[in-house]
Amino acid sequence: MTNLEKIARLAEESKYDVVRPEMDSEEEFDLQKVSILGEGTKHDVCASTATPRIVKGIDRIGSVSSAGICHSFTPDGRCVSLFKTLYTNKCSQDCGYCPNSSSCGENKTISYTPEELAKVTLSLYQSNYVEGLFLSSGMGKDEDLIMESLIESVRLLREDHKFQGYIHLKVLPGTSKDYIKRCIELVDRLSLNIETCSESRMQEVTSTKDYRYDILRRQRYIRDLSEKMDLPAGHTTQTIVGASGENDREIFESMLREYRRMKIKRMYFSSFTPVERTEFEDKENVSTGREHRLYQTDWLFRVYGFEPREIIAAFDEHGFLPKKDPKIEIARHVLDEAVDPNEASKERLLRVPGIGPKSASRIVRARKEKEIIKRRELAKFGVVLKRARPFLKLNGWKDTTLDRWMT
């Protein structure tokens, strides 16, 4: 028997019918449905698939990765890692930015059944196009009925098909605590989009959602339940940037509330894009640069450990961030003198543009053994010298003040 024959025999003997049921042919899928309901989620930006969940046993389909995996990118540069789809495009809400809004008139209703959804997910997953499912939905006529269908879809995958890939489920505004509990039992990540940064801003985009009752109260349910149960990849939220005329400072402050009070894992930002036939179709498009700068402040707060009072220094008098890295603006305010990498604390090093957590740790560890003498050494630690130089002094030398302020 050749080694290949031996491997084939092992497959024959294996009692695990991993592909259950037999996979459909591609012709059996409604491709138009896949396309329309897929497009309904393209402004939901969370593409993370990292989860610490441990997959055990071998009677299953799939696994997860603690670092997450990107399976593709579109020419907009964004990662496609999950089968991201709406369950239905039918919605009773009147959000001014959304093409599925009830204010857009009658759309043709398109919906999956839980079985259909499971089959598409499994076909894409087993062909290695995606790392799992990201399931969102319009609210239909009755959000409880839709939420039941979403739960049934993920239950079918997890329990009947023994699918162990990644699942991110959107909680619909107004979902009951019992349903949220069931969701947590089945998925890696939950999210509920706040969409706007405050109650008054919410009223500018919709008359049908109650910010406190439908959104914040549900987020508290998720927070409280996930403290007692295991929600491996945590819960997240997303806000639309620029849909209701808010400034960056308002968004930043709502981000702080979300991290501190709601204990979210991540905040996502999606810059507003006007869509034809919606109430907001004539509003101006918001640049992705604005979204990017908000992500930078999120990073400074969450990863670098900056205090909000430091970050606030980056906002202009109108509450907007400058069109450059906010860390530079903050450095001008908080670094009253040039930083010596041989003496500064890790926290102070982190305040220097061009030095991140990794390079700061490397500097702190390396200088215990040997004094850092040359800038070239800093570059080897990962420091971006072009940005850091104006804020550093080495061997008593520093760049001129003019250089520092002209960065």
Binding site: I7, A11, I61, P75
Partner: protein, 195 residues
């Protein structure tokens, strides 16, 4: 604490590794690599990262076709010697299924059973798949590229078009090594629209 086993495997898998790189890696600790300024340590760190990056990308970019319930195969032509590392990783993801990854010259075959993972190196992917299909009595091939193409296009936001970012995240060399037909086709169409 010495260098993690995974890092050593990646270093050995790098096509450009030299004997002295491996000798050096055996003597150092993980932290030494993090704070390295010495050229030889930087080289070791770079080699590990390079093979690790290819490994990570191939886990995402490889695409499978299916024959029955028991056989999956996909094109892969890695630069580094990571064939088994990838095929075994997929075997663990899909227990009981024969995973074949490979190209015109070579292929890597793995399966995960109750007893663990079995692997075998074989000739070109076409012959390997034909032989396995013959033994397993499989004929019909299934492929979900059309489904993927439909879904993939639905995720593109033209107002955010950013070709440079796409090229950085999904470089041509990886698209070629995993034969990402849909992405290549859509990328070229987008480039044509720009001209």
């Amino acid at each position: 604490m010495s260098l993690p086993k995974r890092d050593l495997e990646l270093l050995k898998a790098n096509r450009r590794v030299k004997k002295e790189d491996i000798e050096l890696a055996k003597k150092i600790e993980k932290e030494d690599l993090h704070t390295a300024t010495d050229e030889s340590l930087l080289r070791v760190r770079g080699l590990i990262r390079e093979a690790g990056r290819e490994m990570h990308n191939m886990k995402g970019f490889v695409r499978f076709k299916h024959m029955g319930k028991k056989l999956k195969y996909g094109y892969m032509k890695p630069e580094h010697h990571i064939g088994f590392m990838i095929s075994e990783w997929f075997a663990n993801r899909f227990p009981g299924v024969v995973i074949v990854l490979g190209n015109e010259k070579e292929s890597w075959v793995s399966i995960r059973t109750e007893k663990g993972v079995e692997s075998e190196e074989s000739e070109d992917i076409k012959s390997t798949v034909e032989k396995l299909a013959d033994v397993l009595g499989l004929e019909t091939e299934k492929d979900f590229q059309g489904l993927w193409e439909n879904y993939y296009k639905s995720q593109y936001a033209d107002e955010r078009k950013n070709i440079e970012l796409f090229e950085k995240n999904m470089p041509a060399k990886f698209r070629k090594r995993a034969r990402n037909i849909t992405e290549n086709r859509f990328y070229e169409k987008t480039l044509d629209e720009l001209e």
